[in-house]
């Protein structure tokens, strides 16, 4: 069953057509990486899927719920279905790590403090941040902050997790910890859509890779195949820039 069903969506900013008929279905347990040049519409696609931008036409379903901007209740329901990890983390700087992870559980999902703390503790364990619950984001490295934001996105048990270039704001040596966490999630069959510039990571972690350019999906296929034997000229040209 598809957790995410994006069907023929269009999005423009003024005269600029950014998404030009994108259709993308992601099955439960599947990991999809989206690659492509800057300005090709990757991030906009992710922002549309996560309700941060409104699409002009087409439809989006997550976890069986149809996105309808006018229906507040369905908006709230659909936001319960996914988690989003931002490029710049967007942690709440005035909250401790613990409160960053537990606040939505308590004040949006009505969990008790004890329940929320238990969820938080197990996530901190998983993210290798066991002792960091009382720290504040400003005291953590970029890699640690990104792992906190992954924990925050996971706290509400979403059916699908979106990543918007999760390592682009990190120093190279800090990316490894974050990428390992995502690989671990993939092993646990977490459904994920990852916009990334890390080609070798995309090949290793993704089941399927989407190459986007000019607001359309130029090519898609099994990860290794697309990276090693791209069929489209544009894909080849793009990948030749990454010679790892």
């Amino acid at each position: 069953m598809s957790v995410l069903e994006i069907t023929d969506i269009h999005k423009s900013f003024g005269d600029l057509q950014v998404l030009n008929g994108i259709t993308l279905h992601v099955d439960e347990g599947e990991v999809v990486a989206i690659i492509g040049p800057s300005g090709g519409g990757k991030s906009t696609l992710l922002r549309c899927a996560t309700t941060l931008e409104q699409i002009n036409s087409g439809s989006i379903r997550i976890g069986g719920i149809e996105l309808d901007y006018k229906n507040k209740k369905s908006l709230a329901e659909i936001r319960n279905k996914f988690g989003l990890v931002f490029q710049n983390f967007n942690l709440f700087p005035h909250f401790s790590v613990r409160r960053n992870i537990t606040e939505a559980l308590i004040s949006v999902h009505g969990k008790s403090k004890e329940e929320a703390n238990a969820i938080c503790d197990s996530l901190l364990d998983k993210m290798d941040l066991t002792a960091k619950g009382d720290a504040y984001p400003c005291n953590l490295s970029g890699g640690q902050q990104q792992r906190v934001s992954i924990a925050r996105a996971l706290a509400t048990s979403p059916e699908i997790l979106f990543f918007d270039e999760p390592t682009s704001a990190l120093d190279p040596e800090l990316t490894i910890g974050v990428l390992n966490v995502i690989k671990e999630l993939a092993r646990e069959k977490m459904t994920m859509v990852i916009v990334t510039h890390e080609m070798s990571f995309a090949r290793d972690v993704a089941d399927r890779i989407i190459f986007m350019n000019g607001g359309v999906i130029v090519e898609e296929g099994p990860a290794a195949e697309l990276i090693n034997n791209p069929k489209q000229e544009r894909t080849r040209a793009f990948l030749s820039g990454y010679s790892d």
Partner: protein
């Protein structure tokens, strides 16, 4: 000048000081929430609403506070024929009430611009993170945005609060017997500058306390950056 005289000056100024503190306290109490509302109005998407609040701020900042106080006090009678002499709210006569209204309306305009700067300096990512996590607009504002805005605007707010302490002396135009009015009367009665010097000490000590308090508040929020 002897100690008895000094003590008597201090005592009399102390009585006026109660009004000074009263004006200060009530102005802070009303102008800060009002300033938040005006800031929101100023940032409204509706261009008419935004223009109204921006004109309000412009007038309040562009005309003398003393003139505004006189308008609030005399306006009801001269414009609407409403007699204000008998108005009393609790222990406060209309002179005092008008002073607080005038100060609050004026300071709210300054606070509104400070808050607007603070709110607009918040990165969009904070709103987006709150939105995808499911926080309501109210929760986002009160839990995520406002606490961070308070930290950002505190130094500018401290500036305004310190100015307010000194501005309370403007209440003399409405003959409110706050400390400065008392000092002026004493000075002319005693033909001495001593009351002014003592009043200066009062203002300075008051502001030293305000500064101390605001610094404590700032420190209490310095656990994050």
């Amino acid at each position: 000048m002897n100690w008895d005289q000094l003590l008597s000056i201090t005592k009399q100024l102390g009585q006026g000081f109660e009004f000074t503190v009263g004006i200060f306290f009530f102005t802070i109490l009303f102008s800060i929430p009002l300033g938040l509302l005006i800031a929101r109005g100023r940032m409204a998407k509706n261009p008419v609403v935004s223009a109204i609040f921006s004109i309000y701020i412009s007038i309040m900042r562009g005309t003398p506070l003393m003139l505004q106080l006189l308008l609030v006090y005399f306006g009801p009678y001269y414009i609407f024929g409403v007699s204000t002499g008998s108005i009393e709210i609790g222990p406060f006569n209309y002179r005092f009430v008008a002073t607080v209204i005038g100060f609050s309306l004026n300071y709210a305009a300054y606070f509104a611009e400070i808050f607007r700067g603070g709110i607009q300096s918040m990165p969009n990512g904070q709103y987006e993170a709150a939105q995808v996590l499911g926080f309501s607009k109210m929760q986002t504002y009160f839990k995520i945005i406002l606490p961070q805005v308070i930290k950002r605007v505190l130094p500018s707010v401290t500036n305004e609060v310190i100015t307010l302490v000194k501005d309370t002396s403007l209440a003399q135009v409405l003959s409110v017997t706050e400390m400065f009015t008392v000092a002026k009367n004493l000075a002319s009665a005693q033909v001495s500058v001593m009351p002014f010097i003592v009043a200066g000490v009062f203002y300075y000590v008051f502001n030293a306390l305000v500064e101390f308090g605001m610094n404590r508040l700032e420190k209490s929020m310095s656990y994050y950056s």
